[in-house]
């Protein structure tokens, strides 16, 4: 009996354009949000997701057929797609929303991604979706799990190691959990979300940045996909957190110990 040919894997990586992690953000005076006229870049966890997709292809050679990146956001989000393409993705999908539109919620994003996975099916089934574990702007950490729920696919969140066994169509994923690590085995298709320790993302080289400019980006609107990205939760206001007043410095260890003792902190054993 001839073994059936292994189907080649298609990977989808959703990425988000977010305020750069190093920017010290400021709440706007109207308390409606934060000042967004600052440097933006790809959400760090999404960089790790793109990197993992590219590494999977490097490790598994021809078993990975395509790596597609997708973003939902205003026109400027196209830059984020280009960055991902320069890192090694093959093509992009940009679901464009107006600059003035409120930021979509994880549920809306997950529904959009489901629509894209279903749309891609006409060309080739998506086998693996790799997302960041959370975006550093809204800190929600829900989209991957929601997408897995909507598609009814298995999920491996907070991944620190991913090994794909393409012959048996399973993913072996080590996950970071409270207090340690856990290993799970998921059947493909699977949703994976990345934790920090999964890998160290590469910098795009200049030739690759040039090449990325020629890679295709497909533009879609939420209505093309039949999804509504209007937030359900109402943001009433955004405020500054209470300021902490630093108590100043002490000169030596004796003064430090005195301060500790004043606060009622002493050794529990001698």
């Amino acid at each position: 009996m001839r073994p059936s040919a292994v189907r080649l894997l298609n990977i989808l990586v959703p990425v988000k354009r977010a305020v750069d992690y190093a920017v010290k953000i400021r709440v706007n005076p109207q308390q409606t949000g934060i000042d967004l006229n600052v440097k933006h870049s790809m959400n760090p966890f999404d960089e790790i997701a793109v990197e993992e997709a590219v590494r999977l292809r490097e490790r598994m050679k021809d078993a990975v057929k395509s790596i597609k990146v997708v973003t939902i956001g205003p026109a400027k989000s196209a830059e984020t797609l280009r960055t991902a393409l320069a890192m090694g993705a093959d093509g992009g999908i940009h679901v464009e929303i107006p600059e003035s539109a409120p930021a979509p919620e994880p549920l809306g994003v997950a529904k959009t991604l489901r629509a894209i996975v279903e749309r891609e099916k006409e060309k080739a089934n998506v086998d693996i979706v790799i997302l960041g574990k959370q975006a550093i702007d809204d800190d929600m950490g829900q989209t991957g799990q929601m997408l897995a729920g909507l598609l009814n696919w298995p999920q491996a969140t907070y991944a620190s190691k991913v090994v794909i066994d393409e012959a048996n169509r399973v993913a072996h994923v080590t996950r970071e959990i409270d207090g340690g690590a856990e290993e799970v085995k998921c059947k493909l298709p699977v949703i994976i979300t990345t934790d920090l320790r999964l890998n160290e993302p590469r910098y795009a080289s200049l030739p690759n940045i040039m090449k990325a400019k020629k890679k295709p980006i497909e533009k879609l609107s939420p209505s093309d996909l039949g999804v509504d990205l209007t937030p359900i939760l109402e943001t009433l206001k955004v405020t500054e957190p209470p300021k902490r007043v630093g108590g100043g410095k002490v000169e030596n260890v004796d003064e430090l110990i005195t301060k500790l003792k004043e606060a009622g902190i002493e050794a529990v054993k001698s």
Binding site: Q145, L147, V184, P241, G246, E251, L256, L260, K269
Partner: protein, 348 residues
């Protein structure tokens, strides 16, 4: 005439709806080996603040659930307990546990809220369930307020690594409001003898041929208090040089103070400490009585994880390190001299 009648009909409908909307929270009680996680006790406190019924849900295998029920019966603030036992729930994988949640919550459900700690297991499971029920979820909230007459719940939650606080309202159009709570923002519900509540068993929802399988769990063993709930934390950064120095410098001080050990991302990435010790936006969020930052510069991602601590003590060689802006007590100095001296003097 007809118009008036239909109007009346509508108001009466609305009224029933409003009175029926008394909150009833389902709290996901997580446990390990039969003892309840302290984060879940904080979730009970948060659920009580909604001002209605609070039911605890315990899911697990046969060897753990009975002990967890016994523990939950003593928790103040719980009005009822439902539990479900199946060998399939041993590893509480989202793929096998979500169908149970769906069964409990779908149809004419009595629950208006689903609450849990923002733990790694709950935040893997609950968003999956929420999406399947087509409702949004709110993560890592620090305060809440429920308006029973309007059926809305307002939450505050930190965004941008805690550099801004968003106030969001889940409208009445969301029939079941899912949220996870930041454990450090709510005190743990008290436990006392003799406040036994009724525990009801429900049938498991067996998943035939589950798409995922638990292989193994490896927990980091430690005799020290657990980082997330410790009242004192001694934390080290990149300045600790290597894993051996990290241990030999920090552990004696932590043990002397009865403190948990934490680490900055730099220390974890450099391999000095296990990543379960990481404090920050992407690690643990702590708010102990005492947080001692040794050789930690104080990047915003780290501050996000500890700036709600009561007393912050920082030791750093660099007088301009940002950590000094939040520290209550700062000492500019070499931690290799300061720490041994501190140990010496604390012992006196």
């Amino acid at each position: 005439m007809l118009r008036v009648a239909s109007l009346n009909f509508r108001t009466s409908l609305l009224r029933t709806y409003a009175t029926a909307a008394s909150p009833h929270a389902l709290v996901f009680l997580e446990h390990r080996g039969g003892s309840l996680d302290s984060g879940s006790l904080s979730a009970v406190t948060a659920a009580s603040q909604l001002g209605g019924q609070v039911t605890g849900l315990i899911v697990g295998n046969e060897s753990e659930v009975p002990a967890a029920i016994e523990a939950a019966k003593k928790v103040k603030g719980l009005n009822a307990i439902v539990h479900c036992t199946s060998p399939q729930y041993t590893a509480s994988l989202p793929e096998t546990v979500s169908p149970l949640f769906e069964k409990i919550l779908s149809g004419s459900t009595q629950y208006s809220h689903v609450v849990s700690a923002h733990s790694s297991s709950a935040r893997s499971i609950l968003p999956r369930v929420a999406a399947r029920l087509d409702v949004p979820a709110v993560s890592d909230i620090t305060s809440l307020e429920h308006d029973a007459s309007a059926s809305t719940t307002t939450f505050t939650r930190p965004i941008y690594a805690g550099n801004a606080i968003a106030t969001v309202r889940s409208p009445s159009s969301v029939p079941i409001k899912f949220f996870t709570i930041r454990s450090t923002a709510f005190s743990a519900a008290l436990c006392e003898e003799g406040t036994s509540v009724e525990a009801t068993s429900i049938d498991p929802t067996e998943v035939a041929d589950p798409p995922s399988e638990h292989v193994k769990t490896s927990l980091t063993k430690s005799d020290r208090p657990e980082l997330g709930v410790a009242t004192r934390v001694v934390s080290g950064g990149r300045a600790l040089k290597n894993a051996e120095t990290f241990e030999s410098t920090l552990y004696p001080l932590a043990d002397l103070l009865g403190a948990a050990v934490g680490a900055s991302r730099a220390a974890v990435d450099a391999g000095y400490a296990d990543n379960s010790l990481q404090v920050g936006q992407t690690g643990k969020i702590v708010a102990p009585e005492l947080y001692m930052a040794l050789g930690i510069s104080g990047a915003i991602q780290h501050l996000a994880g500890m700036k709600d601590s009561k007393l912050i003590v920082a030791v750093n060689k660099d007088p301009d390190a940002p950590i000094f802006q939040v520290a209550d007590v700062g000492l500019v100095g070499d931690l290799y001299q300061v720490v041994p001296e501190m140990i010496e003097k604390l012992k006196q």
